[in-house]
């Protein structure tokens, strides 16, 4: 355990006026060769993730596994639903209801359907949160006072220090060069 308080460089952040400016900036940052950067907007901007090069082309699917997880949850929920009912009504507690077969599969469909939806929805939400690494109570960006506006009317870009190409002075200059305002460094400190 180190006794030194944590104080490392997280990245450099800049603000833009509008969604279009943010989109243009994201494209320029990607073209400049930065890999680890993120854009922040108060509402989902169509095309922004493509501009950042995240979800573009065939390789893009890796960035968004939510649909695959949802399918998995749905199949899992449905199979669990059906075979649970089968186990209950055929194996664990067989009851003769008006001479109907123990495995009255059509009667098991409503519950199977409900559990399919339940499984898929839970996986969609929990999968989305997990892939987004949420809940995350603290993020170094929250120390930047102006960043509060990201949930109101601010559009931000942050180039992260973990990027191989990152250099504080260069990145700052680059952001200012593409029109960012209030460019500041973000520190990850205790």
């Amino acid at each position: 355990m180190s006794t030194e308080p944590r104080n490392t460089l997280y990245g450099v952040i800049g603000e833009f006026d509008s969604a279009n400016a943010l989109m243009a900036a994201a494209r320029k940052i990607r073209e400049a060769g930065y890999q680890c950067f993120d854009a922040f907007a108060p509402y989902p901007i169509p095309g922004l993730s493509e501009a950042m090069g995240l979800h573009y082309g065939l390789k893009g699917w890796k960035h968004n596994l939510v649909p695959q997880l949802t399918l998995l949850g749905g199949i899992g929920g449905g199979l669990t639903g059906f075979f649970f009912q089968y186990w209950v009504n055929v194996i664990a507690y067989p009851l003769n209801i008006a001479g109907r077969p123990l495995n009255s599969w059509p009667a098991f469909i409503p519950v199977t359907f409900e559990l399919t939806v339940l499984g898929a929805s839970s996986f969609a939400v929990l999968g989305m949160l997990a892939l987004n690494k949420l809940p995350q109570p603290h993020c170094p960006l929250f120390t930047v006072p102006r960043f509060k506006r990201a949930s109101n009317d601010g559009f931000f870009v942050c180039i992260e220090a973990k990027d191989a190409k990152f250099n504080l002075a260069e990145a700052t200059k680059f952001l200012e060069g593409i029109g960012a305002k209030f460019v500041t460094e973000v520190r990850d400190e205790d």
């Binding site: 939510v66 409900e114 939806v117 929805s121 939400v125 109570p137």
Partner: protein
């Protein structure tokens, strides 16, 4: 200025979805201020006190029910269901409009859903909560209501899944869970907004915990949007399945008036019908009290009136088909039941139902009525009453007029039936009062999208 597209509201002379002159910050300010800065008004306090008192009536009624048993209600063989099931079906139906607005209109890309979806979803959750009260306390020994769920009991007893009643348990609990997930996912970005704008420590901590560190990252938004779209796609068949399963509770039985294949679609249409009526009942006072006329515009009210008219006609078709099929089949029990509806001891309820659900809504064909806020409010109350009467007619007339005259009976609701029913309205309205002060009643993030969309259109 370029030419207006053909379907632009101006050309069709429709009121706007959002009044002009708003930008991202002013939308945020206006909606967030209701929660964060606005002082508690006397009206809110009075409204909440009244509804909370009514909620206490519910708790009192339930306590008395637990002490004395279901005998305090008007139910007795042959009427085992009575108010409890009437109210259950009514409340569950009301919830359906919330999901319809949030899921189906989202998939259909209807922009006008934006400012009403949040509180309509809240309404869904609260209506499901009210509905869930009834089966739980109707079972006779409410402390054993958990028997409804399959669990490894020491007696080795399991439910049998050929019964619609157990399907109902799964349908309603899945519906409640998925509605809550959908609502919460929609709330995350707005909770982040509240966290960033709150000025006092407790609010920052509470909203901060709930927002889970949301910061509007493009990566997050991308996955968020696909999760939201998938949830909408999943909630759509779910909402249709829920009232279908509720109608199976009736249709799978052989009781005259219940055993019919028209029930699932007509129950779903009725659910949406009553749900939209309830959305209007809430939206009209809400927009007035908090000055949200610019966000919940006449366009919204009119569209909801149109949905009510359309679903009302489907319901009317359902009533007609019930009659027609009974007469066409020639089944004497079904024909007899039709006669009982028209001439039996409960014919007054039946004609009131026709008046509320079929005749009154025909006024909605007239545009002047659709755009008259007071008329819409009254009509929404009339339709809510009508839909309640519909369930009363279905449950009570069929059960009191079974196959054998020896099994006939009468049903009279007692004071406790009414107090429990009215009490759930207290629960519903109390939750709504808390909701409008604790969470943004309109989705701020989606309103910003709407602003962005509008400003692009003007360029």
């Amino acid at each position: 200025m370029s030419e207006k597209p053909v379907n632009s509201p101006e050309i069709r002379r429709l009121p706007r979805v959002l009044e002009p002159g708003y930008n991202y910050a002013s939308v945020t300010d206006k909606i967030a201020s209701i929660v964060l800065t606005r002082p508690v008004s006397l009206g809110w306090l009075a409204g909440f006190s009244i509804s909370f008192t009514i909620l206490m009536v519910l708790l009192g009624s339930i306590a008395w029910l637990i002490i004395k048993g279901v005998g305090i209600w008007g139910i007795n063989i042959p009427i085992g269901w009575g108010f409890a099931i009437v109210n259950f079906v009514w409340w569950i139906g009301i919830g359906h409009a919330g999901t319809l607005i949030s899921a189906i209109l989202f998939l259909l890309n209807q922009q006008w859903r934006t400012s009403i979806n949040r509180f309509a979803e809240a309404m869904t959750l609260f209506a499901v909560a009210c509905a869930a009260v009834f089966p739980g306390i109707h079972v006779g020994r409410p402390w054993m209501a958990f028997y409804m769920f399959p669990y490894p009991s020491t007696m080795g007893v399991w439910p049998q899944f050929r019964s619609p009643l157990i399907w109902d348990v799964f349908a309603v609990s899945t519906y409640g869970t998925v509605s809550a997930l959908f609502w919460f996912v929609g709330l995350i970005p707005d909770l982040a907004t509240l966290r960033d704008r709150a000025t006092n420590k407790p609010a920052q901590i509470i909203y901060g915990m709930l927002a889970m560190g949301w910061r509007g990252s493009a990566r997050h938004w991308h996955r968020y949007q696909s999760a939201y779209l998938l949830l909408a796609g999943l909630a759509t068949p779910l909402v249709l399945s829920v009232h279908t399963v509720v109608s199976f509770d009736f249709a799978v039985g052989i009781v005259p008036g219940w055993h019919t294949t028209i029930f699932p679609p007509y129950f779903v249409a009725g659910a949406i019908y009553s749900g939209f009526a309830m959305v209007l009942t809430i939206a009209i006072p809400l927009r007035k009290a908090y000055g949200l006329e610019d966000f919940i515009t006449m366009r919204h009210l009119e569209n909801m009136a149109k949905v009510m008219l359309a679903t009302g006609l489907i319901v009317a078709y359902g009533y007609f088909m019930e009659f027609f099929l009974a007469l066409y089949s020639g089944n004497k029990f079904d024909v007899f039941l039709v006669q009982q509806r028209l001439h039996g001891p409960y014919s007054g309820y039946y004609f009131a139902l026709i008046l509320c659900n079929i005749l009154t809504p025909q006024l909605l064909w007239i545009q002047k009525v659709r755009t008259n806020v007071a008329a819409l409010f009254v009509m929404s109350l009339v339709i809510n009453l009508g839909m309640w009467l519909e369930r009363f007619v279905i449950v009570v007339i069929s059960l009191t007029r079974d196959f054998v005259p020896g099994a006939w009976g009468r049903y009279q609701a007692t004071f406790w039936d009414y107090s429990t029913f009215i009490g759930t309205m207290g629960l519903f309205v109390s939750l709504l009062f808390l909701f409008v002060r604790g969470l943004p009643a309109i989705s701020i993030a989606e309103m910003r999208e709407l602003v962005a969309h509008k400003s692009e259109g003007d360029e």
